[in-house]
Symmetry: C2
Subunit: 354 residues, 2 copies
Amino acid sequence: MDEGGNEAFAARSGSLRDDDGREEGGARRPITLADVAREARVGESTVSRVLRSHGSFSEKTRARVEDAVARLGYVPNRIAGTLASTGSRLIGIVIPSLTNIVFPDLLRGATAALEQEGFQSVIAVTDYDQDREEAVVGSLLSWRPAGLIVTGLEHNPGTRRRLLASGVRVAELLDVDGPGLDIVVGYSNRAAGAASARHLAGRGYRRIGYIGHDLARDRRAAKRYAGFREGLGEAGLALAGEERVASPSSVEAGRHGLEALLARVPDLDAAYFSNDDMALGGYFHCLAHGLPVPERLALFGYNGLDVGRLMPQPLATIRTPRVEAGATAARLLCSGAAATVVDLGFELIEGATA
Amino acid sequence: MDEGGNEAFAARSGSLRDDDGREEGGARRPITLADVAREARVGESTVSRVLRSHGSFSEKTRARVEDAVARLGYVPNRIAGTLASTGSRLIGIVIPSLTNIVFPDLLRGATAALEQEGFQSVIAVTDYDQDREEAVVGSLLSWRPAGLIVTGLEHNPGTRRRLLASGVRVAELLDVDGPGLDIVVGYSNRAAGAASARHLAGRGYRRIGYIGHDLARDRRAAKRYAGFREGLGEAGLALAGEERVASPSSVEAGRHGLEALLARVPDLDAAYFSNDDMALGGYFHCLAHGLPVPERLALFGYNGLDVGRLMPQPLATIRTPRVEAGATAARLLCSGAAATVVDLGFELIEGATA
DNA sequence: GTCCGGATTGGCAGCGCTGCCAATCCTTGC
DNA sequence: GCAAGGATTGGCAGCGCTGCCAATCCGGAC
């Protein structure tokens, strides 16, 4: 190892023209590309080219540079790199919540695909609040990302304006029911709701109730709800009752919601939940109170979580391709595809609870 | 609005000395701080000061600047800001998985606290692979973060070296059983395992089995396992049998794991699972096969997920302060606290399954 | 009216890296 | 042996913003 340097720091040179950095008690400064260039006795651009495998250079040069990098423990500064080059390799991802496993799934798909393309993701959470969405979108845009992945098609005017004005590519996920800004990847929540209604009606259920969570915030759940009512209508039915808890969806909300609804509408023969978490709560209520499922009460969820498949009776639900949606959106953004709508569809899982 | 400019772009000036940017068909370029300064007829540093509420300026100036910002739709470029100032406002977070809700919980706590401090987070996932951890740590370090949050205390030598050499603050989370690099926030997995064993032994269970997942990758689960065996040993007991599935933890792995174990060791009277997801799967197995819980078989989990609390019989488990750990680590990192170990402890929940 | 000290303000040199362009080094062909 | 043309290479001007420092302004105090 050379004098005065350790793996990650070099002695800071004492004056502006002295580049040798051998001042004795000087402060330490991070290793830069210039340090590597000096160590390898090549130009800065050459180091840059080698590190990015971009442009041409000889095998001998590559070896010298890589050697110097290893010797100095150089870590490239992507902040500087991004500023200097025109486009960043960053994608911002905006999701409403980390509590519902649906969004980590989306993240999983997106980050995996992104990584493959050499992109990194920055994540922000809105808590289902459109004002917070506007704020985090602004915050993400200040990193000059190559693209943004947001959830749903509904945004307040400020968010919409910022997104449009920024000129960055935007992918809106998990919904295709409505006009999108640019790239849209998802499935129809409305159709999913309708399909659920048709399924229950087709099975002969007539006294069907709905247990949902905060629909004002979760617009996709609201669309499923609307689609569900439509589907019931087509079958000549109407909701026999409904219970909406003001909180986000959860097993707890589902359990207590079903309990409350049954107290009001005891002769329900089926319950449609705003998602699988809620439905699992409902299932637990039935188990705890000895209500035979689906004989006494049928249950239907949404999302197709693993846990539903493993219940003693597999949950009747709709499986949504969340991971795939994240991955598809990421790939489209990276590839610079034209504005488009990708409807990935969904799959109705009959299960054994309805 | 001035001629030739719209909300987010200004006409690019045709030559290097012409700053007026009124070339007719020129390309568009993003609005910069210099544009705002010109529009507000103040200096660049003044705009910078106003935007960061840092330094002093008159009320009149603030109004003019904010006016210009609004008129031009200026979005500050944090890439440039970070490069120019010494420290970034970024914290990197490295987690092993997004599939297990534990890590989104950690993220939730961390991002909430970080946001409050004006920091942004960049997230990377390792899939429980130490080599991938090394790679993503390198990748995160290239953003020159102010700090890094990683999971667990076990890292391969390369990761350790990079972390140390980088000079950035590091917080290691969710475990306190072992030496840390810098800041450590978590709880003792070993003690949790031992406490679980003592609880089961104290309740009179004697034929106790273990159902776990891939312990080679999940070092914290391995520590709980070790602690559990120790705890049993103190009570004069030994594991009556164990089943390890090679996959990550899941409801499915728990259900099938218990089934397999019971096939081999039918007279088990209690089952300790590597976590609540696994335990939920075990519970489902019992329900599906009519095994009375806890009379025929007691169940014990780990993590204290909501779902366990809402089962018909609340799950006996250990509640871990995951969200709090994320938040604590984030706050310590931001505040520049000294290296320290924070043991947040855990809480044994008796539940009704043991 | 003049002077003083604090409040404001503007200028400008970098932060570390990349893109462009010119300089240099090899080959290969004749 | 010489020139043409591609392969390598180095120099350096920014990318957009912040930090430092000097310049300017302002409101009393004298």
